[in-house]
Symmetry: C2
Subunit: 367 residues, 2 copies
Amino acid sequence: MSSTPRASAVDAVTPLVPGVRGNDLFLRACRREPVERPPVWMMRQAGRYLPEYRAVRATSDFLSMVQTPELATEVTLQPVDLLHVDAAIIFSDILVVPQAMGLPLTVDEGVGPVFGETVRSMDAVKRLREVEPRESLDYHLEALRMTRRALDGRVPLIGFAGAPWTLAAYMVEGKGTKQFAVAKKMLFEAPAVAHALLETLAVAVGRFLVAQAEAGAQALQLFDSWAGSLAPAEFRNFALPYLARAAAIARTAGVPLIVFAPGASWALAEIAQATLCDVVGVHWDVEARVARERVEHLPVALQGNLDPTVLYAPPAVIRERTLRMLADFGGRGHIANLGHGILPDIPVEHARTFIDTVREWRAPAGA
Amino acid sequence: MSSTPRASAVDAVTPLVPGVRGNDLFLRACRREPVERPPVWMMRQAGRYLPEYRAVRATSDFLSMVQTPELATEVTLQPVDLLHVDAAIIFSDILVVPQAMGLPLTVDEGVGPVFGETVRSMDAVKRLREVEPRESLDYHLEALRMTRRALDGRVPLIGFAGAPWTLAAYMVEGKGTKQFAVAKKMLFEAPAVAHALLETLAVAVGRFLVAQAEAGAQALQLFDSWAGSLAPAEFRNFALPYLARAAAIARTAGVPLIVFAPGASWALAEIAQATLCDVVGVHWDVEARVARERVEHLPVALQGNLDPTVLYAPPAVIRERTLRMLADFGGRGHIANLGHGILPDIPVEHARTFIDTVREWRAPAGA
């Protein structure tokens, strides 16, 4: 909305690329172009660890925040303004897609998201509404448009969606669970129902991502948050093909695509190959060196992967661990991030230490 | 106590080794000796999925069962009698060691174990009582002696203990948590306290395992159940050295040692090298083929690793997946097991399908 970028959000150390008024480190790193230092953002950076977020949250329930573009925009901008991250990610929730398909969703503090119905039969899959993002998810697209205007080119804006397996697991269970026993039982007992649900979701998610790019998202991230609930055989059968299907649709939007499947670090190369994504997210459970080796033959950048609990540590430890991570990823084709979402009880100054350490780092000559 | 083995518990297909009256497949597999088929048992096989277990549990709370040798013996024998597994594992709990150190422990259904005190300072570590297993853990040793007599050589008996990091995480938090945030914070903020607690635990656990072998345990397993809560750097710093320390003491007992660290499948080789264990447990999150490759240069057997949720599947699927697992491990130096504890809502017949599939399998010629 403001026609000039706020000074606080301009990364003074980042030279501007002609035609781009702000900091495009993130987009260059997605394309594995040379950068003077890796860009940095944090998964769940618009979140409860920020007092400014809690102030907005105190006036509104979680889903109303997601569905009110002004509020979503406000909290999306907070980490850009306050912590000077190199990318914004739209404030939303992965479960908006099943909700748009007709499942009644409630999110209660302490309980987590709960669907009023479950999807456990072919009939239930067939009853799901086809998602037309411009209708049922327009609040999300409007939040992207508003945020993009408010950012005014300062940093790129990321759109996102949940991956088919993760959404299916929630829809079959009706809520988050420890083992996803009902959902996994379906994979074994009624694989045809599972495949039908996953195919429906893959198309919906892919189209939603394309619509997000059209609304202003400059990069897209797929979150397969429950990938780690599947053994390798099931991951290859029920998660990976639908990640690939959603990604194939999303890639038609022509913006960088990031795929993050925590708990499936063994599959980094398979994910990159199957989805042809630009960036693969790296969970904190794998070393940077190992992650690099797994994809070194592939044209893909890496995003991650500081253990979010390291942000509980004193600043000196955060700095030391962040520097080690940066050195291990090697600078080029790396987007610095946590290896999972930031936790709600992290002190803001600790998050700032992480961000500032990346912003002050320079890759060794010749990297 | 009966002087002849019960017919139902004798594995008719297993030739007897001279001097051993029962089925010693398990011990031979621990030593990577040739076997006509892998032995099979299930982690948490004395558990709630068995109606016979629930019948005992209905008469007693969990900790009283653990601390009453007659009850512990009764449920330890159930899977041997009912499912014909090739090894018994003593019914107990990993938290008996911290309890013996003086932490008041309660286990409530639905809440899980809770300690009445936490250990978060050097003073608290120093206040922990030294564990003399023959005193404070004699109920556990007596259960081993009783079970050993009751088994009468039918199958070997396994003793076990929790690994130092896992026990420390519970003691610092006071209970199980999702992130073990307080415990991990201690690793970063007060590493000296963490190391002191871990060292104390390693010695206590090692001695407890030796005492178990002296009481009749024919093999010993260390469970590092929360290994997966640590990133590789912390695992190497706070878990692995103390696994190694406890193992070094335990190995003086001269019986096979199994080490299982779910969530640290990346570290299979490091665990085998650091602990010099005979068998390394394989979590379900890694393929048998990959696990074998990781340790192929090491003199270690593998135990695992069917995804416990596969037991939700119809019997035909359980059979197919079990056969695939057996073929992938290749027969020699393999102890068939689940890749984590059996879940409480698994139908007994599904567990039986898993066990029977292994019992009927024969390694391909030349394996």
